[in-house]
Symmetry: C2
Subunit: 359 residues, 2 copies
Amino acid sequence: MPFSPDDIDLANTPAVLIDLDIAKANIERFQSYADSHGLRVRPHIKTHKLPAVAEMQLAAGAIGVTCQKVSEAEAMIAGSTEITDVLITYNIIGAEKAEHLKALARKVKLSVVADSVAIVDGLSAAFHDEAQPLAVLVECDTGANRCGVLSPEAAEQLAAHIHAAPGLVFGGLMTYPPAGGEAGVERFMADAKARIEARGIDVPVITSGGTPSMMHAADAPVTTEYRPGTYVYNDRSLVARGVCGWDDCALNVLATVVSVPAPNRAIIDAGSKALTSDLLGLAGYGHVLGRDDITIDQLSEEHGRLVSSGDINLSVGQKIRIVPNHACVVTNLVDAVFVTGAGLNGVEKWPVAARGKIV
Amino acid sequence: MPFSPDDIDLANTPAVLIDLDIAKANIERFQSYADSHGLRVRPHIKTHKLPAVAEMQLAAGAIGVTCQKVSEAEAMIAGSTEITDVLITYNIIGAEKAEHLKALARKVKLSVVADSVAIVDGLSAAFHDEAQPLAVLVECDTGANRCGVLSPEAAEQLAAHIHAAPGLVFGGLMTYPPAGGEAGVERFMADAKARIEARGIDVPVITSGGTPSMMHAADAPVTTEYRPGTYVYNDRSLVARGVCGWDDCALNVLATVVSVPAPNRAIIDAGSKALTSDLLGLAGYGHVLGRDDITIDQLSEEHGRLVSSGDINLSVGQKIRIVPNHACVVTNLVDAVFVTGAGLNGVEKWPVAARGKIV
């Protein structure tokens, strides 16, 4: 790279910058909380998509990683021999995905989830001839209204179906809860666990996740494992929720001012293809560090429009750093990120191994 | 590919499907309008990002292509020897970009835009030793409130500055107008043109663009050239504006139902990483073809939530086709698209050459 951490502003923009020292502190903060409450940590790699950052999480004490799609898991496993335990928190269906899943299951300790008989039967059909059974957890809807069985009774029934299915083994219960949903998680999971155990079926894992309320994860003591994702980098949505501060945001988007057409307005070279259109309930598309007066009020694909409550006081060519609304979707947009810290010798450009892995 | 156009639904999902026959009809429809009004066509490649589709546009009569970023232009030129005339409608600044720009200018007929003296002086510094001058157009703000000089007087002054700058030649006037802004374009551009010509400087090109009002482009007769982008594929935003119908949408996202947790709700495997969060003023994140009763009311990164006004009537494993809100941002998310039509022998998988080219 032609620049050191001291002059990273020389990077061609827009560019995504990662400070590994901040990421490391974020990782250790949650690991420490989890350790003190007897919770295992299985970070979701969707935020960073980088095998080397997964290795940092494992080194800090994580028991494995979480992926959302089969191809994400493939990219991560291909990128690190230290990734040996993967949970894919997704209903996997279709012949092509099943073949990939079988190949993965021969390489690492693999588990997946299901919320219907149709998904379970598809997995069983794929794995009934495999030497090792596939662990399948039941996904439970504890209030997020996305995937998941709707009641502990339904969880019990699906667990029994998995338990009886050739090629599969019941792996436990999984939920992606709404923020602040610990009481609902506890109620649902404790009930489902008791019902399943009453059938003589062990419930080895109860896994929950989500960065927004991770520091309250232990408020649902039935939980054995937690899967935070965004916590590694943090972002504007988490600052807005009071979960962290700007100094805890390990990911910045570096942009250049390309136009200052009016006294209170400037245009930067980062648009929705760098910052994304994700609002996550916020107004504006990111926070310009050091400039609380500025709102990024409009994005085109390659233009971001900045307006100030007063004088914009920026000049053409000037670089700014932005904390995006949502870090995970930003790393999905770039082929590589620029990384500093953690003993690196200068700035390194790391390919985003699991970018675009949507199947 | 393991499937023919008749069974493209076998594709691993989510997948982006392109029907080249529809794209060809879309290209020809606008080319025909432009030809009948004496307008030259310079399509924006941001929608398809595919050299082969640019070649279809050139074959239909386009005089060249438009790109938004230097790296986009590089990817397109690398992918087709037929792309020999490129306008980059962006303020280009910075040493690294200038070097790339010089290399491009030695390969093709290249022009760029500028809306400030700072941008012009940077380009002049880069090109003053080059054998061929770089054509620089003045970007004019005719109401979109993005980049661009704010008045015909300012356009005149910047044109004169370009005209006098070593290594540069004044290339004309450019605008990205608001939809329906033809009267404003005509007023601004006619005034600026007269002022610049009164200085003895030729105005060879007046270029405008944007699909939404492309069929009214000739209502601003001062315009010599038009730069539509989305028209090649169309999308839900253009159907909503009455510009086209569903049958004119050449790009679909193919998704699989992975969960039907409630009678009126289903979850598909296409989330914001396939459909994007772009709303473009619409409610919901895409249109499920054949299902006017369904709203895609929420996206996570890998989940799309479908709700119906009645019974959702979908089953796990079923494939659906979605017209996304905004086609251009969808093609930026996938490494490849699945292409049918135009005499292809079956389905081809084409890498999206200019995906992620944001610098």
